[in-house]
């Protein structure tokens, strides 16, 4: 077996030094009825080329993004990742290192995390960011819990524009919680969340651009929340938008949670992704997740360490701020490298390109008979209403090789009023040809 270094002779020699008659002697604590009492019936070990053939056959059964026009978004976005990013994250020293608990021999990871935290703080306009969480959805649930700790209040209101999966994750985390209010879906960008804030409210959660692509007024939400002593949690699923849209921190957000996948990370069928979380300085101690901080070594050299770790489970055990143990280190590295490559100039250009392509898409869709674009405002994503049920329509377009977006009914199956809605995204990878192909096919299908 190519991954196991010992020869049979070495195994025998080692058993001799241990003083064990055979390998089973080392498993003597296992009740005999449970030790190797079975035939697994699994295939035997396999050469690399055979494993590769098997996996390639599975991969070939999937329609990849590059195989045709692609407009799927709704919380995960198909962007270009520079070759440099993928090369660098496969450096052994990044890929095969553990969490940097021994800072003297982990400065590479630690300095990267410090740079990452700085980048996230800058794009969100917040004071501080953590070293990442699992993803945007679990990050949202963590932010809600953090707001409760900070305000010592319980009521949480989720906007109807919040990604339905994010809402469902918050629901699961706060199971059977009467203090959780989920406003009904708002595909037209409507919303009355400001009327739901009262003196018991810990936080309101507003996504922008929202699930349907509309841009939400963060300033108004922040002012209304703060007037009642509540916090504003801003959720962003398309982090590229921050290259063009105002930073939530500049508009009064208290906690910002974002899905960072768009920068540096491939679609990967939904994971691994990257949760970004940023907040105000005074809230640091209630923020979950790892934090990297600057310090000096005994010779006065600048260095970095994981810090404020007493908030975490391995020390506080049942009093930890969260049970989270892992961040999303390698995805954070990919994000940070891609963001460093972009820089301010590139990040802004990327955002403008996304918006420009989305404008083209919106204009083209509006010209298709039987299609209504619901958005007055958007970044790179929009919702259309068609005169046919969306799920079947999207399926028929897929059969023609076009991935036309996400039927809202896939995420909100119980709401008949949205059965004809499709959420579509454009990115820098969307071509004029893709848009023309989509619109022509839509026109035919809707005749």
């Amino acid at each position: 077996m190519r991954y196991l270094p010992h020869s049979e002779a070495e195994r025998a020699e080692m058993l001799g030094i241990i003083g064990a008659v055979d390998i089973d002697a080392l498993f003597s604590a296992v009740p005999s009825r449970a030790l190797k009492s079975f035939d697994l019936g699994l295939p035997a070990h396999s050469p690399e080329f055979m494993v590769e053939a098997h996996m390639k056959a599975l991969a070939a059964k999937n329609h990849a993004g590059a195989d045709g026009p692609f407009f799927v978004g709704a919380g995960a976005y198909r962007h270009h990742v520079p070759a440099t990013v993928d090369h660098l994250i496969q450096r052994s020293e990044f890929l095969t290192a553990y969490t940097p608990y021994q800072p003297e021999i982990s400065q590479g990871t630690l300095q990267m995390l410090f740079e990452f935290q700085t980048q996230v703080a800058k794009i969100t306009g917040m004071d501080v960011a953590n070293a990442s969480l699992y993803d945007g959805s679990t990050g949202t649930a963590e932010a809600v819990l953090m707001a409760r700790r900070l305000t010592k209040r319980n009521k949480i209101v989720l906007s109807g524009g919040l990604h339905p999966h994010y809402r469902d994750v918050v629901k699961a985390y706060l199971k059977d919680d009467a203090d959780l209010e989920c406003l009904s879906a708002s595909p037209e960008g409507q919303g009355d969340i400001l009327d739901h804030i009262d003196e018991q409210t810990a936080a309101i959660v507003v996504q922008t651009p929202d699930f349907y692509g509309h841009l939400r007024n963060i300033k108004t939400a922040a002012d209304a929340a703060h007037a009642k002593g509540a916090l504003l949690i801003v959720v962003i699923t398309e982090v590229v938008s921050l290259g063009l849209l105002e930073a939530p921190g500049a508009l009064g957000a208290d906690i910002v949670v974002a899905e960072g996948q768009s920068i540096g990370n491939a679609l990967n069928f939904g994971g691994p992704y990257l949760g970004l979380m940023a907040t105000r300085k005074e809230f640091i101690r209630q923020m979950p997740g790892r934090l990297c901080g600057e310090t000096v070594d005994t010779e006065g050299q600048r260095g970095f360490v994981l810090t404020l770790s007493t908030r975490e489970q391995h020390i506080r055990r049942e009093k930890a701020t969260s049970n989270i143990c892992t961040n999303s280190g390698l995805c954070a590295l990919a994000f940070s490298i891609h963001m460093a490559l972009l820089g301010e100039a590139g990040f802004k250009r990327l955002a403008r390109l996304n918006h420009a392509n989305a404008c083209k898409l919106a204009d083209a869709l509006a010209g298709v008979q039987g299609v209504e674009v619901l958005n007055k405002s958007f970044f790179n994503e929009m919702t259309i209403r068609t005169r046919q049920p969306a799920a079947e329509l999207v399926e028929r377009l897929a059969a023609r090789g076009i991935l036309a977006g996400v039927p809202v009914s896939r995420l909100e199956p119980d709401d008949a009023s949205i059965a004809n809605l499709i959420v579509l995204a454009a990115t820098e990878l969307t071509t004029d040809g893709d848009i023309a192909t989509l619109c022509a096919a839509l026109a035919e299908e809707l005749q």
């Binding site: 077996m1 390998i23 009492s37 035997a44 919380g75 095969t96 489970q313 055990r317 390109l353």
Partner: protein
């Protein structure tokens, strides 16, 4: 505007290239914000004109101030940073309870096939049948290796899986009208996530003391059981590296009391293919794909923590899951009945599923069992070679995949476990896990994994013996000043925590100069 290399208020004068104390191959590296500026970019993108009509008046007005690097600058920055890390590929990483095994590169290659990496979680299910098939196949391997009825693949990491498993237990008990069960039993030797998870779900944590031999006493469990106990959370093999000899009796007692058995599967690497946890009576167990099944640790994630579930808990699995339908495989994305809903957006860590399945297929059932046996062999070999120079707290049984020592061999030397571990850095090894488990004084937990050759193990043991002898010989300075050969000496963690500096700020003098 050039603001490179301006130094920083807190940077104590070491941020320039020149003031390097590193050797030729271990350079000090400035922060990217000290190298780049807002004009530099390593990505060529067309400049497009846009109208602001559809931005609702929300366009950015505040400054970004985000430094960029061209491609050669970025390449050098990150390659130089990478050299400051220890990694599995560069040396032994014997961190107990972390299973730092070799990460095969075939896994990486497969995860990057466009058919896996370039598919969207919400594209039509008919267009991702291969992905669902892969999830089915991975589930089959996990259920077969554990002899369990179901598996929930979606958790993002071990702690997340643990949360999900305990949520399933809670949901099952609520469905059965057993909501009064509010106590969770957790042995003292458990990893901190266990009590954190139980407390998060509103349970009261009741610690179970360890026996003198490092294992859990079935009688202590029986004494703690009551009609109010919801579950026990037991790690097996446990955090001392020992297989719980009474695990079946414990499971039977827990079940007889109407409670569930949550097993922390962090140490599954010791028994995969050799012992099936389902045969021991577990109801739920998370499996860390990033430990047992070699998906890379990546400097702290991403992980993946699928949870296998017994027949009794299977109906309480979260969405989504894959099932066979009339037109191929279906993805069930919405909760039916009393299922607990969704614990993450989308379908979990697909990139990790691909890597883990690749690893499993490479090993086969026979190779996985051999890997577990080699991991156990290696740990026992270390224990046998070092027993004479170190102190073994629980010496009566063979150990499983980890060798545990305490610090009594250092008594009177003035050298602590931490000092000893830091001295190991100067010898080219990553330190072992220290001060965990908490039940052992000054614990040193060594997990070699199956990936280390006998030659490497011998060299490691030689170094350990030499260090122990040197500590006992009174050469305290070597330990208390260690490491001296690493890119940094010991870092001031008190300073980092007392006045946290968590991001780079442009130096004040540079801001003034720019005005």
């Amino acid at each position: 505007m050039s603001m490179n290399n301006q130094g920083r208020p807190t940077g104590t004068g070491t941020s320039s290239y020149a003031a390097s104390s590193g050797s030729a191959l271990l350079p000090n590296e400035p922060l990217l914000f000290e190298i780049g500026d807002i004009e530099h970019s390593g990505v060529d993108l067309p400049e497009v004109e846009i109208s602001l009509d559809r931005l609702g008046g929300f366009e950015r007005k505040s400054a970004l101030d985000l430094a960029g690097l061209t491609e050669p600058e970025a390449m050098r920055h990150y390659v130089r940073l990478s050299r400051l890390n220890h990694s599995i590929d560069s040396g032994m990483y014997p961190l107990g309870s972390c299973t730092m095994k070799h990460n095969p590169r075939l896994n990486e290659k497969m995860a990057r096939l466009p058919g896996f990496s370039d598919i969207h979680p919400l594209q039509p299910v008919s267009t991702v049948q291969g992905a669902l098939e892969l999830m089915e196949e991975l589930s089959h391997w996990l259920m077969t290796l554990t002899n369990t009825a179901a598996v929930a693949l979606t958790p993002k990491a071990g702690a997340h899986g643990e949360l999900l498993g305990m949520m399933a237990i809670k949901a099952a008990q609520e469905a059965a009208g057993q909501s009064h069960r509010r106590i969770v039993l957790v042995p003292e030797s458990a990893h901190g996530t266990n009590p954190a998870t139980a407390a998060f779900l509103g349970y009261l944590v009741k610690p179970i003391p360890a026996r003198a031999d490092g294992t859990v006493d079935v009688q202590a469990v029986k004494d703690a059981l009551s009609p109010d106990v919801a579950a026990i959370m037991l790690t097996n093999p446990n955090t001392c590296g020992l297989f719980e000899p009474q695990v079946i009796e414990i499971a039977e007692a827990v079940h007889a009391a109407g409670a569930f058995f949550y097993c922390d599967g962090a140490n599954f690497n010791a028994i995969m293919g050799v012992v099936r946890p389902g045969d021991l009576g577990i109801d739920a167990m998370h499996i860390n794909l990033h430990k047992t099944f070699s998906t890379p640790h990546g400097g702290g994630g991403p992980g993946a923590g699928p949870v296998v579930l017994s027949e009794a808990l299977a109906p309480f699995a979260p969405v989504p899951f894959v099932r066979k339908g009339e037109n191929g495989l279906e993805l069930v994305e919405h909760a039916e009945g009393s299922a607990l809903g969704r614990v993450t957006a989308f379908h979990g860590q697909m990139g990790m599923y691909v890597r883990a399945l690749t690893y499993m297929l490479s090993h086969g059932g026979d190779g996985l069992a051999q890997a577990a046996q080699d991991a156990v062999l290696n740990a026992n070999y270390i224990k046998a070679r070092l027993a004479h120079a170190f102190s073994v707290p629980f010496g009566d049984y063979p150990t499983m995949h980890e060798a545990l020592f305490d610090d009594s061999f250092l008594q009177g030397t003035g050298v602590t476990t931490l000092d000893f571990a830091k001295a190991l850095i100067d010898e080219g090894f990553h330190p072992m896990t220290m001060y965990f488990p908490l039940v052992v004084h000054g614990a040193m937990l060594i997990e070699p994994t199956e990936s280390e050759s006998k030659q490497t193990l011998d060299r490691f043991c030689d170094v350990m013996e030499e260090l122990a002898a040197d500590a006992k010989a009174g050469n305290k300075e070597r330990f208390t000043s260690a490491p001296v050969k690493a890119p940094r000496r010991r870092l001031d963690e008190t300073r980092a925590a007392r006045s946290p500096v968590l991001r780079w700020e442009r130096p004040v003098e540079a801001l003034k100069a720019a005005e």
